[in-house]
Symmetry: C2
Subunit: 325 residues, 2 copies
């Protein structure tokens, strides 16, 4: 779940000192927000914050909008919203570790983690409202609604034998692409590129789709050393992803399996992952993700932005692929 | 947990046709919002919506701000936020019924209910952002943060032997009064009484405090027919409320009890409730709530609003007391 340091370094390099300064301001702001809201939150959320991750969405915000306080607030807001969803996901998955650090769920329990997620949601909106831009708040709430709808769709479709590739893509739009698109749109709108907002949102959407597809491929391909999770977690929790959908088309016996009954522990998931891989589905899914990345990069050619930022955005797109390589 | 029909009827009567029209528009809007966001949400949230409740917070919004689309949006947003917290509370309490209707948790399970709560949160902010008022969004996000902080404080203080009355009131400010205060402030600001926003928020805050204290008294006094819950649920989940704090001061043996160990089932909670009642703590707590209501009503005398709305707000304050009578 992390960009290789090499890619992140190249993005930072291309973004130059302006990007580095912006990311530092965002870290400071995230720290202030969690410290400012009661010792309980600071205790619970600081672990999640410190575990950090690659701040991919804030990077997209900043590269889309440039410098300025409103862009910094938007980047912090997008990351707070992302963190909120991670904290709630960890409650639902009863996950005790994320990026090697104990989750809020592990430290505080189910109740504290649910409330911490709610608080991070609230702070995301408060942070964005500080820009005094109502359209920005609407864009974030649309994305936030989409994330929740994607989650509901995923649960409604759990273990379904009839999920189509189209429905899978629709779910990826909701649960992943919407926030990348909003990150780009918010940056552009609140920063120096309002005219490019739609095009940048389209770029964000496509890398978001690629990101989710490659994540789902990685869950089947493993190995666990790369993902921090055992292989086949999606199979175990009933999430029907593109590799499985493609593999079912190619392997009628797999299509006929009742996975809810057949895959209840990691060793069984491993066997089904192997079977999916043997159909060649991983390559097909990967090609689809690469096509989205290629579209995203091609779209950058139409966008008027300083060349260093366009260059860095291209490297962000490459980084999404490199996670998988 | 419901205003008696008599009180609600008197509020509606005092508010006149304008209030009735506004409440009807709010119901329509709430229905549209939940219908518009995917069949999953409509299915899950419509139960919560239909169960309804007394719409006390929307009533406060409308009486504070009068008619107009922005006031309607604010009222819908406040109710959506309230519903979101109820849905998440039901997940944490594993509650299967609310107001006699199956909860989202009961119908959809833990994951769907957590996502449904998140979606209701998101729609609350989207709805308020439609007013294009950034200060309004900030007011709602402050209240939303307060609710979550109150929840975190309650969990941090669970089964604590040292929670003071001051700390208890601070928690009530966060988890209940903040949303009543925001309801009044949003109505006033977006409606026809921006100059009275602070005073109306003060009114909302005080009835919120009274509401929470009386709710906590009711949990000890019972009977279950009134509350829909068995007596002593707060004792069972470790929530230290004002009646217990006062009773501990008066009954050293009670103060010395380890309630986490001593109260693990309803029959034991019943015994401790009796013991709290015998100290006279319920009367003292009730007096404190009545004092807040009296302050709230006195503050109305300072506010310039049409007399029918002031009159109706006074009846809302009375209704908070009548729940308990």
């Amino acid at each position: 779940m992390s960009t290789t340091p090499a890619t992140l370094a190249s993005v930072l390099d291309a973004g130059g000192p302006a990007l580095a300064r912006a990311l530092e301001r965002i870290e400071t702001r995230l720290g202030e927000i969690t410290q400012a809201h009661g010792s309980e939150l600071a205790g619970h959320a600081s672990g999640t914050l410190a575990a950090g991750g690659k701040r991919l969405r804030p990077v997209v915000v900043v590269l889309s909008g440039g410098e300025g306080d409103a862009v910094t607030s938007a980047a912090a807001a997008v990351e707070l919203l992302h963190m909120a969803t991670l904290v709630h996901d960890d409650v639902l998955d009863a996950a005790r570790l994320r990026r090697g650090v104990p989750t809020v769920f592990a430290v505080g329990g189910r109740g504290a983690a649910t409330a911490t997620g709610d608080l991070l949601f609230s702070r995301a909106f408060a942070e964005l409202a500080s820009t005094r831009s109502a359209p920005a708040v609407q864009a974030l709430s649309q994305a936030s609604s989409a994330l929740a709808r994607g989650e509901l769709m995923q649960r409604a479709d759990a273990w379904s034998a009839t999920v189509s590739a189209d429905r899978y893509i629709e779910r990826c739009e909701l649960k992943t692409a919407s926030l990348f698109a909003a990150a780009a749109r918010l940056g552009a709108t609140l920063g120096d590129a309002p005219d490019a907002a739609d095009d940048l949102a389209g770029f964000g959407r496509r890398i978001g789709l690629a990101f989710q597809i490659l994540d789902d491929v990685l869950d089947v391909s493993g190995p666990a050393e790369r993902t921090g999770k055992h292989r086949g977690t999606d199979l175990l929790d009933g999430t029907v992803t593109l590799p499985l959908i493609i593999a079912r088309d190619r392997d009628p016996e797999l299509a006929g399996m009742d996975l809810a009954a057949a895959v209840t522990e990691p060793a069984q998931a491993d066997v089904v992952c192997e079977r999916i891989a043997r159909t060649g589905a991983l390559g097909v899914a990967r090609e689809q993700a690469l096509a989205y990345v290629a579209e995203a990069k091609a779209a950058l050619g139409e966008i008027e932005l300083p060349p260093d930022r366009l260059n860095a955005l291209g490297l962000v797109a490459d980084g999404v692929v490199e996670r998988y390589a």
